[in-house]
């Protein structure tokens, strides 16, 4: 009997090697995911044509007037040296999104943790031909002729890379395109009342006293550089350290019917001694010659200016929501949830997140959303 028991114990030990159902990123995200609405009917399976070791960051599906089309999109990954954006489309035979080894753009990474890509929120009016756009630009240490590319997911397969910076010089944001400076940051405002959105830029002047703002309308045709103009008054933003090479920039355009968001405000963040500092300034009062600016108590990297006028940070896998005065409104765990962008779907501003799920030897993505107006409830 003892021998039998020993054999049974040995057999159990040999076969029993069950791992613990735990993953730090997934565990941290789980509580937040439970409050989000899953947008993907089922996880989207993706197969990338790559031999390099890459960390997949996020999945950007095609945006339509009724929501996302998961038959095409972009996958953003990093390999340490580069941020790689790949266009993927559905392989009907397997039901898996593939990149087929082409249609990709690599943007060199420099000193982290600056993001080198931003998503462009758009509105969903049919006339606007809704699409999701991602801009990538080397904002870390800009020089003339830096890589700048804008990708758009439109109908068709495979998705197209519109306005790649290298091959379409007319869309490069460079000194010759209307201003004398280097692009440091970009911010988009989804203007639901018009046929165009506005894109705002923070530019470090190459032959001037420092930083200035520009703006240009953008539509489904891309950025309308012919309408490029200075934003507000072209006074130098002297409070931004002149030698800064890493500056994040956001612009909150005045929203009708929302007195709390008057006047329009701009935000810039940079690192000072390893800590993020954030300044806000406004156009008003006009003609003063000096922008009223103030440092607000935001000490984390900001990733998006939301339609609510709030600022959103995902630094360190933690979601933080601030008002325009820098007051922390909510904190919640994101884990490996990747913030995609804020989009208008059905007339409602939504915050979209993607999550990488690796199981059964396959990479999958789930996309979730929550109304922007409810984002703070994630902190409950």
């Amino acid at each position: 009997m003892k021998r039998d028991l020993f054999l049974l114990a040995a057999a159990a030990f040999l076969v029993s090697c069950s791992p613990v159902p735990y993953d730090a990123g997934l565990t941290e995200s789980a509580r937040t995911v439970a409050k989000l609405t899953q947008d993907t009917p089922s996880p989207v399976s993706v197969d990338l044509f790559t031999d390099s070791i890459e960390t997949i960051v996020g999945f950007y599906p095609r945006l339509t007037t009724t929501g996302f089309d998961y038959g095409t999109g972009f996958v953003v990954s990093e390999n340490g040296a580069q941020t790689i954006v790949r266009a993927v489309s559905l392989d009907p035979s397997s039901g898996i999104l593939r990149d087929y080894g082409f249609s990709s753009v690599s943007i060199p990474n420099q000193a982290p943790p600056m993001p080198s890509w931003v998503a462009w929120p758009t509105k969903d009016t049919p006339a606007f031909n809704a699409w999701l756009s991602i801009q990538t630009f080397d904002s870390l240490d800009p020089v003339a002729n830096d890589t700048f590319a804008q990708f758009e997911v439109q109908a068709g397969s495979p998705p197209t890379f519109l306005f790649p910076g290298i091959s379409s010089p007319s869309h490069l944001i460079q000194t010759q395109t209307g201003f004398s400076g280097l692009l440091m940051g970009a911010s988009f405002d989804a203007d639901t009342s018009g046929a165009q959105d506005n894109e705002f830029w923070l530019v470090r002047q190459t032959a001037g006293p420092g930083f200035v703002e520009f703006q240009s309308p953008a539509s489904s045709a891309g950025i309308i550089l012919s309408s490029l103009r200075s934003s507000g008054y072209p006074y130098a933003l002297s409070f931004i350290p002149p030698g800064s090479t890493q500056v994040q920039y956001f612009y909150d355009e005045n929203q009708a019917g929302d007195p709390a968001r008057h006047p329009n405000a701009s935000f810039a963040l940079w690192q000072d001694g390893g800590h993020w500092v954030c300044y806000r300034w406004a156009e008003d009062p006009p003609n003063s010659g000096v922008y009223p600016f103030v440092q607000i108590p935001i000490d984390h990297r900001i990733d998006a200016m939301l339609s609510t006028g709030q600022l959103f940070s995902t630094e360190g896998g933690t979601g933080r929501l601030y008002d325009r005065d820098g007051a922390l409104l909510a904190t919640f765990a994101l884990g490996n949830l990747q913030f995609l962008s804020e989009e208008y779907v059905g007339g409602q501003a939504r915050m979209y997140f993607s999550q990488l799920l690796s199981y059964n030897q396959q990479v999958h993505f789930n996309v979730y959303w929550i109304p922007t107006a409810s984002l703070a409830t994630l902190g409950n």
Binding site: M1, K2, L5, L8, A9, A12, F13, V15, S16, C17, S18, P19, V20, P21, Y22, D23, A24, L26, T27, E28, S29, A30, R31, V33, A34, P43, A333, Q355, L357, S358, Y359, N360, Q361, V363, H364, N366
Partner: protein, 414 residues
């Protein structure tokens, strides 16, 4: 001296005749039964004038009368005069002589004024059978021993000690009487079939082939299993030390050969029902057969489970089944504590076996499948790694089943 030797010789001759006559009456025990073995110890008290030979004559006289009175007792003489006649020493001497009882006679005075302190103790029932004083004042010499019936001594002995049950023995094997003293109702395994059961007197006896080593396992509901290895070369009495099962037990275990756990159990019905609080930590785990020897996840399971042992009667190996619920705590070393977001609750079932290694310690191995409840089943599945789901894992909407999970460890009664 010469006179004393002569009288001793005459008494021996008379005693021999009586012994043979008594032996002629002994038809032997019936089949399946055996006589009790009584160690006779006769000693001389400090104030006695009796010589060593006188003591020997006295011993033979008592022996003869006991054997004459009953065939259900075999009197075994002490090989020497023990220096210590305490109850403990006599008990040890009896065991050493293969006896299951003793009769102690302490003689004082002289042949003309003889006083005897007589005691008898039954090792099987752990009871004093007799504790009396006997006087003889009319004797002239040792010759009077020949006609002394020792009724005060013989009657209690014959009245108390009777045959005990035995079993058939292998053909030709030499047998000895092994008597087990245990709590009444105790079942004793290890001496052939059927198992012995201690009677209301707390004894169980069987003739067993000798010389041989036997391993006994004694079990009684509510008591720990007692295992004892003994060597039997002759008649012998073994007293078992039995203890009630404690209501509390502590166990240390490894789940899935990797993760340490500790459990504290309480039993409202010891040995039958158990309620256990078990903590399993995944903070440090040993991953045999994998690239990394150690694994770690900041999760700790705290489980409350209850179950029963089957059968209720304790055995060397017993089965048990339990059912419990557990909460999974994230980062248990941090404050405040929070439940694991992937799967905060689980239901566990356990079917196991417990092998008694000692009176208080046992080894256990249990099959412990678990159902992990989750609001995010895909995340739970992905948390197991990028490969295919490990063997034994199944996922449905809302539940992840781990059907191939085992726990092994040791349990100590407190």
């Amino acid at each position: 001296m010469m006179g004393s030797m002569k009288s001793a010789g005459a008494v021996c001759a008379m005693l021999l005749v009586v012994v043979f006559s008594a032996g002629a009456q002994d038809a032997g025990p019936p089949d399946g039964q055996a006589a009790r073995r009584l160690l006779l110890v006769v000693t001389r008290a400090g104030n006695s004038t009796l010589a060593a030979n006188d003591i020997q004559l006295l011993s033979r006289s008592i022996l003869m009368q006991v054997q004459k009175a009953t065939s259900e007792v075999v009197v075994v003489e002490s090989p020497g005069s023990p220096a210590d006649v305490s109850q403990t020493a006599l008990e040890q001497a009896a065991k050493g002589a293969g006896a299951d009882s003793w009769l102690s006679v302490a003689a004082s005075g002289s042949w003309t004024a003889l006083k005897l302190g007589v005691k008898s103790f039954d090792l099987i029932s752990s009871s004093m059978v007799m504790d009396i004083s006997v006087s003889r004042g009319e004797w002239q010499s040792a010759l009077d021993l020949a006609l002394e019936p020792w009724d005060e001594i013989v009657r209690p002995v014959a009245g108390h000690y009777h045959f005990v049950q035995t079993v058939a023995s292998p053909q030709g094997a030499r047998l000895a009487r092994l008597t087990i003293a245990a709590i009444p109702g105790t079942t004793i395994d290890g001496l052939g079939s059927p198992a012995l059961v201690a009677d209301e007197n707390g004894t169980a006896s069987r003739d067993v082939p000798v010389p041989r080593e036997y391993t006994l396992h004694a079990r009684l509901r509510g008591h720990s299993v007692v295992s004892s290895s003994i060597f039997v070369s002759g008649d012998r009495v073994v007293k078992l030390e039995q203890h009630p099962i404690s209501s509390w037990a502590l166990d240390f275990s490894l789940q899935d050969q990797a993760y340490p756990g500790v459990g504290l159990s309480w039993s409202p019905l010891p040995g039958i029902v158990a309620i256990e609080l078990q903590v399993t930590s995944y903070l440090v785990g040993v991953s045999l057969g994998t690239a990394e020897l150690f694994s770690s996840a900041p999760v700790t399971d705290v489980a409350l489970q209850a179950g029963i042992y089957l059968p209720f009667q304790p055995r060397l190996i017993r089965a048990y089944t339990m059912l419990g619920v557990s909460v999974r705590i994230d980062s248990p070393l941090q404050s405040p504590l929070s439940l694991d977001a992937l799967s905060p609750f689980a239901v566990k079932a356990m079917v196991g076996g417990e092998l008694a290694l000692s009176e208080r310690g046992s080894f256990f191995l249990e099959y412990a499948p678990a159902a992990y409840f989750t609001a995010v089943p895909l995340l739970l599945q992905a948390a197991l790694g990028p490969g295919n789901a490990p063997p034994g894992w199944l996922f449905t909407s809302g539940v992840g089943f781990n059907l191939l999970s085992f726990r092994a460890g040791f349990r100590w009664q407190l």
